[in-house]
Amino acid sequence: MRYRALAILLLAALAWVARADEQAFTNRATDLKERAAPDSATLASLPDNTSVKVIARGGGWTHVEAAGKSGWVNVFHLRFPATVEGSSSSGSGLASLGSALGFGARTDQARLATTGIRGLSTEDVKNANPDPEALARMQSYRADKPAAQRFAREAKLAEAHVDDPTKAGAK
């Protein structure tokens, strides 16, 4: 139990990654907390489907504005409506289904993204000519173990023992 409290404290000490005013909704009745910790004071009780504005994220908590207050909500107690295009194409659900089933071909124009990079279709991959030179180039960027270890030390990445949850007998 002491370890758990410690872990929560340490998680709360994470830097928060700011987000640009994303809209989200509570996916159940939940509490708006004063701090990013389950035992902190409750600022407001938010009913299911309450609209919130996301300010930042980090660890298991999301910093939001809701009910006129700024506070923290459990990261799993929010749902996010699909509002952002995966690319500039206007892919409807039906079109994606058609494409996944191998028909309903999309034009190149539809897959041109705003950045000028084309989206990738199933047909593109099936019809591609293999590029062994690109494979070799990619493999030339491999990192060896010492490089990865140095890289981890630079960011103070501390190894932890965590059991494989998918193996029988795991805790």
Binding site: G86, P130, V162
Partner: protein, 288 residues
């Protein structure tokens, strides 16, 4: 008998071996296709790596490697550090960012992981990148793609693969059509062409990769909620209609989040000083 077939196959794989009797080659290739498709066939690590090389070479023919050496090296360091905590540290782990706006990442047997630039530029920290890469690493560790290509529903594709390899690749263009010097790699190319590799994996495999991915990221010192943040971002993203968006090839993000929720407290208990690493990520990837 199996050993004999494999030996025949390996003879084909020897670089420089001259293919003379196309009829015999055709039969051997078909036999080998059947053999590899056999669910009881255990892929050796070398076969797994060769298959992955072929798949990756095919994939790179459709989606070029992004011309940014700094980014490619960065992603390889994050990926290798994660892979060292995956239980299969001995594979020749290779990570590549491919230049497409489609949002997804792909794991090849043998330890090659491709992530699209469309996904990378939507991430906000190294821990989110680690979450996405660790999910793919988990697929490799659990050999999900190998299981999928050996499943019954792909038996027809395997029969065709054998014929395709022999009649097209081997007989017409010599026994090493793409310069990969290996039958397994050519099989990988064919698996991409016939669409077997592009089929979505079972939902249970995706949920398993999410959980093991979270564990691999946590073991490596990253905030285990990195993958959760990626899934939340994906929940806000619409498919680009390409058929290869992560939203086309994976269960809905909300379903994946629901599967992860009860699992997270146990992982959280084990970690100390988890890091998000935002500054280094921004320096390499650029501003949002």
């Amino acid at each position: 008998m199996k050993k004999l077939l494999l030996a025949g196959l390996l003879a084909l794989a020897v670089p420089g071996a001259q293919a003379i009797d196309f009829g015999s080659i055709l039969n051997k290739a078909i036999d080998t296709g059947r053999q590899l498709q056999d669910a009881n066939h255990e892929f050796t690590q070398d076969e797994e790596i060769a298959l992955g090389d072929g798949l990756a070479a095919g994939f790179l023919g459709a989606a070029p490697l992004r011309k940014d050496a700094e980014l490619q090296r960065y992603v390889n360091r994050v990926g290798k550090w994660l892979a060292l905590h995956s239980g299969r540290a001995d594979l020749p782990w290779t990570f590549g960012v491919v230049d497409t706006e489609t949002v997804n990442a792909f794991a090849m047997p043998g330890g090659t992981v491709l992530i699209t630039y469309g996904l990378v530029r939507r991430l906000n920290s190294e821990s989110e990148l680690a979450g996405a890469l660790a999910h793919e690493i988990a697929h490799v560790v659990k050999k999900h793609q190998l299981q999928a290509i050996q499943s019954d529903k792909n038996s027809q594709a395997w029969a065709e693969l054998g014929k395709g390899l022999a009649s097209d690749a081997i007989a017409r263009r010599g026994n090493d059509p793409v310069g990969l010097k290996n039958w397994g790699a050519n099989a990988g190319v064919e698996l991409l062409k016939n669409g077997v590799f592009l089929r979505p994996l079972d939902r249970s495999m995706e949920y398993e990769a999410d959980k093991l991915g979270v564990v691999i990221a946590a073991r490596s010192g990253y905030d285990p909620y990195g993958l959760v943040a990626v899934l939340e971002m994906l929940a806000q993203t619409k498919s680009d209609g390409s058929g290869l968006s992560v939203l086309d090839t994976h269960p809905a993000p909300a379903d994946r989040l629901a599967e992860l929720e009860p699992f997270m407290p146990a992982v959280e208990r084990e970690v100390s000083h988890p890091q998000q690493v935002e500054a280094r990520f921004r320096k390499i990837v650029g501003a949002p």
